[in-house]
């Protein structure tokens, strides 16, 4: 009705009013079942479908050659590199098998390697004891790990002629056990040092706090390699020539200082999360400064930052590879030098060695990160309720 003003339309009954309820709609075609879920998830819309197809294509292109290289075409046993050099041969696992003792112990004298095994076994037992949250006597374990174990392992590895253990020069040390040694020293030293530095940085004494903050920021601001260089070339200059530290001790000092600066920042985060009332409550109970820290503050602060601490350990473990720059034969360095052995050298040796090393580091770092997730979840259980 053109031209007719709307307001002029008289109010009248609606043209149609439904009397019966509308019939129920049929369920959507892909509502239920596994296939429906897959369809929705992987092919919901053209963009998603394209990405799924691209991902599957990538998988199809990359996986078969990878499996062929790693498993089907791999050389599993061979006396030397002859078979591995054959065209079309895959990973040369025989090389790894033959070099495994070297990867594990470096040039440590073969007759004395039980000492390394024993040290590692003690260490592993203590670590399991420490990490198992419900184990009894974990305080004792911590004491053993942080105080008794370093002395014991020094005596075992370096030697104690008075106990009938001949001295083994650290030039001969190498391989996985040196990597673990560097990591353990870093961990054992960095936690107490880091806590001290963090407490110092939060101290109300301005000089102390400035000194700690300066140290932490300086170390965190430079690459680890330069710290190692410094430890290697400058430490011998700081002391009289006769006292110059051992070739292996120098990078260990560098690693310990480097790791403690990072640890200090993690611990500081935990300290900052403690409400002031905790300090005041302890004071009201008449606790002095040290017992307050030991029984009230640190247990809470450290628990808060266990994931951060473990992450620092992971970073430290990966960074142990850098000690190769000052001539230490850590695990990666032994792999890197073994692949140049003319008996085995071949086109696939480098890749094989590196894949093996990558697996080793991956297993360690990945399990550490899973452990930290597990602890995190367990500690937040109280908050979840």
């Amino acid at each position: 009705m053109p031209g007719e003003p709307l307001s002029a339309t008289p109010a009248r009954a609606a043209a149609f009013v439904r009397q019966d309820p509308a019939p129920a709609c049929p369920p959507p075609p892909s509502g239920q079942g596994v296939f429906a879920a897959i369809g929705d998830n992987l092919f919901g819309g053209w963009r998603s479908s394209m990405m799924t197809i691209a991902a599957l294509a990538l998988l199809g292109l990359a996986l078969p050659p990878l499996l062929r290289f790693l498993i089907f075409d791999a050389v599993w046993s061979a006396p030397d590199g002859e078979l591995c050099r054959a065209p079309g041969a895959g990973a040369c696992w025989a090389f790894i098998a033959r070099k495994l003792p070297y990867f594990a112990y470096g040039s440590y004298p073969i007759g004395q390697r039980w000492r390394v095994d024993l040290t590692l076994a003690f260490g592993a037992a203590l670590i399991v004891w420490l990490l198992w949250l419900d184990a009894p006597g974990r305080r004792l374990a911590a004491f053993l790990f942080f105080f008794a174990y370093p002395i014991l392992s020094f005596l075992l590895l370096h030697g104690a002629p008075s106990f009938g253990l001949p001295t083994i020069d650290s030039d001969l040390w190498g391989g996985i056990f040196v990597s673990l040694l560097v990591a353990t020293v870093g961990i054992v030293a960095s936690l107490p040092l880091g806590i001290l530095l963090a407490l110092g940085r939060r101290s109300s004494l301005p000089v102390l706090s400035l000194a700690c903050a300066g140290f932490i920021e300086c170390v965190r601001g430079v690459p680890m390699i330069t710290v190692l260089f410094m430890a290697n070339t400058m430490l011998p200059l700081f002391v009289p020539e006769s006292l110059a530290p051992d070739r292996l001790i120098r990078p260990l000092i560098g690693v310990a200082l480097f790791a403690s600066a990072y640890m200090a920042e993690v611990v500081r985060g935990g300290l900052q999360a403690i409400p002031k009332g905790q300090f005041e409550g302890a004071q009201a109970l008449g606790l002095r400064a040290l017992p307050t820290l030991r029984f009230i503050i640190l247990p809470q602060a450290l628990r808060h930052v266990i994931p951060g601490i473990v992450n620092t350990f992971i970073g430290l473990f990966k960074d142990t590879t850098l000690v190769a720059i000052v001539g230490i034969f850590d695990f990666l360095r032994t792999v890197d030098s073994a692949r140049l052995d003319p008996v085995w050298a071949g086109p696939t040796i480098s890749a094989t060695g590196y894949v093996f090393a990558a697996l080793f580091y991956f297993v360690f770092c990945f399990s550490m990160s899973r452990y930290s997730l597990f602890v995190e979840r367990r500690l937040s259980r109280g908050r979840d309720r």
Binding site: N41, L205, F238, A324, S350
Partner: protein
Amino acid sequence: MAPRSENGPLAFWYDPAIRGRIYQTLFVLALGIVLFEAIVDVRANMQARGIPTDFDFLDDVAGFDINLTLIPYSATSTYGRAFFVGLLNTGLAAALGLILATVVGFAIGIARLSKNWIVAKFAMVYVEALRNVPLLLQLLFWYNAVLKPLPAPRQSYVLPFGMYLNNRGLFAPELVFGPGAQWIGAAVIVAALVAVLARLTGIGARLGRFWPTLLIGLPVAAYFLAGQPVSFIVPELKGFNFSGGVRLLPEFVALVLGLGLYTAAFIAEIVRAGVEAVPRGQSEAAAALGLSRRQTNRFVVVPQAMRIITPLLTSQYLNLIKNSSLAVFIGYPDLVQVFAGTVLNQTGAAVQVIFITMAVYLAISLFASLAMNLYNRRFALVER
């Protein structure tokens, strides 16, 4: 005022303030004695070994060659010049690594958030595989296991855009700017200025999608108006090697790839955490207001996520710059390899060389944290 007890004034050493001062004096004294002893020892040791104790060695002739130099350098240049060559090489590798890490990191991070199961799992595998393996191992892998066994130039891999990959490195077309190219540069600057002005004055918002077109259009227009002064020199196989074009050393390619892909794994995790930290209610509220998904992401989720992402991203960038020092392991002539390696070995001036090297990295770190503090002050959430 000293605290008092019922039995008269307490001895002054019970006053916490005075105690603090005593402790600090003792601390400074101890530190001073240790430092003094160390310096005396170091000087004596260095002089006994005939090592220079000042910075004059920087003016001596270096006498070694560097296979990648961004500024003129030869074996007759000074150690000081070698330092700048190394510094610039570090900057070059770090800059390209940062770009690669950011692009790949954001892509993987977004992929991890994808609702598509297979895409999310792919991204997860990437992140877990790369961040749980030491960077040094990855660099050695790229260099020794991927780039070194490549075929000789005659059997190069042919890549798109006229690039060739072989065991001598990556050969790419070279940009050559002819006469009149300065107009393109001017156009870029003008367009950038306009864009900044538009943003600052708020005109950009009203002009909507106009100014991005301007940003690209102006340089392109200048390119044609100036008579197409930019051309490419494509590398060509001559004899046993390529000539023409840019040659990227295998060490450089390995370093940039390794650094970029490794850091990308960390950036991906940061991006994911940042986006997941934006409460769901935010996007639900945006949907309730009738914003489309694109608008929700652009105006609600991304700005809040970036506030979380940026500080963490900066620390990853700093890590990448510091990690570029691993170049020394694969022989890329960066600051550490040239200066803390060759120069240190030739001059023996360990203290000075390491001091300078550390100072460079420290200056970069401090500058970045300064910039980050400014950013935080500008963009931190203002709460009542």
